[in-house]
Symmetry: C2
DNA sequence: CGTCTCCTTGACGAGGATCAAGACCAGTGG
DNA sequence: CCACTGGTCTTGATCCTCGTCAAGGAGACG
């Protein structure tokens, strides 16, 4: 994992052309706030495998992912690590109020593009636009619930249930109107180790359980980073999750 | 667990006499907001063992705990349950923006007193007082971090480490100025089963590990609901947590 | 074709769950 | 005062899921 400075590619990119302007927090911006965000934000590019920030780093910006996927890692001193989540387009990295430091290490799983807003500009945005903070309240309370769900998964589910939950969650594509579609093919840009670190398992268990699912014809393993879901219902039953419980965008601090 | 209606004991209680007015979100209220909150809030009492709300219940109020302790439970359909946290004085139950339903079942571990504000009054508070929402931003981002820590605990720590984390966390008393003191005696108003459900263990494992700690002279078990810490350092080492990482108030949705 | 990384599979063992029994304790009633 | 009762906690014996260790397979890339 090599730290790279982010490349800033464009300083006048507009929200109107942004692929995530209709998702998550951006969706909730009013017209004038959107103009202001457009003015203050720049695109940043980060290469696959390099770190956006390390846990404890001074946080001088807020990022919204436009493209790619980034993992959020928390580590214990002896090397054990827990992946807190995978950030995807529309998801936020950073605190809209401007926190002092990052809580996680963020590493790009794929080449990614981020919308970057500097902390000092955040203060201006929130004081000029009263709806700015409340636009984030949805995201933060959503994230609290999601981490509660992850607590349940890590505390009370067995390996097969964890993998089933992971797969079904990635297969849900939430639409702008909060309806959703179930995808048949999902991409896994992360390694098996990343999945294991996310689910509180080992790489061997992840591999084994995927093989079990394959043998039961629940999934088809297209290749290392892509699986096809053959039996949504059985997986959903294994995941033992409420129907209806779908999350859209996440926020990482 | 019997549902009881809350008893409202006083409608004109002032924040100025409130035991938690100097904690958490209340601490951040300005004078005029504090007056307004005083006007809209009432005290509510809930008896040990009864439920404040069940997961999925319509949320028509926000609560701040003044006295007592309340557990927040999430359940799987087959009866397994995960306690997401224990809410204590200064902690919040509910969403300042007014959510539609509660995510957890809340049950009082002791007779408790709560400051209750109705959802419809929340809207008024937040529109009249721009600082109202931002006062909660600290709490929600704090809660996100805390649940991330709990993910690490549940995903990557072994039983002894989990218990050590639990004990050391409860032994930290955060002061108003964010300094803290380490308590030598801690109360455990919850049962061993509650502790197990919080830590992703079974009741037997909790009991065994406490006995191990006792035999190593790390703790003294005064009685079922009270333990004395004899060796803070060893427990802290077992917990493998960053020094410095202390949370004050929590929020549950 | 060799090397590197990642993934899969097998054998084995350990940590914690499960099952079962008994201890402790508060409350209740004789 | 003691016996009884029900709930909670502790302790022991056994089992099983998943972690650990080890080896081999499959791609990617030079």
């Amino acid at each position: 994992m090599i730290r790279t400075h982010l490349s800033v590619v464009s300083v006048d990119d507009s929200c109107f052309e942004c692929p995530v302007s209709s998702k998550g927090v951006c969706l909730r911006y009013g017209a004038s706030l959107r103009d202001a965000v457009s003015k203050y934000s720049v695109d940043a590019i980060i290469k696959k495998g390099s770190a956006l920030a390390y846990a404890g780093d001074r946080a001088n910006a807020l990022f919204i992912i436009k493209k790619g996927e980034i993992k959020a890692i928390r580590s214990l001193r002896d090397g054990r690590q827990q992946i807190v989540g995978f950030a995807r387009p529309g998801d936020i990295i950073g605190n809209p109020q401007g926190q002092d430091s990052f809580d996680c290490t963020f590493e790009a799983l794929t080449d990614s593009v981020l919308c970057k807003t500097r902390t000092k500009d955040l203060h201006k945005l929130s004081s000029d636009h009263p709806e700015y903070n409340s636009a984030f309240m949805d995201a933060v309370s959503n994230e609290i619930l999601r981490r509660g769900d992850q607590n349940v998964l890590l505390g009370r589910k067995r390996a097969e249930e964890r993998l089933a939950s992971f797969i079904t969650e990635r297969a849900i594509d939430v639409q702008h109107d909060n309806s959703f579609v179930k995808l048949d093919v999902i991409n896994l840009p992360m390694t098996r180790l990343d999945i294991a670190d996310y689910l509180g398992l080992t790489i061997e268990t992840v591999s084994r359980v995927l093989t079990i699912f394959k043998n039961r014809n629940l999934i088809k393993i297209v290749n290392k980073s892509r699986i096809e879901i053959l039996d949504h219902d059985s997986l959903a039953a294994l995941a033992c999750e409420e129907e209806s419980r779908h999350f859209n965008t996440r926020i990482f601090l």
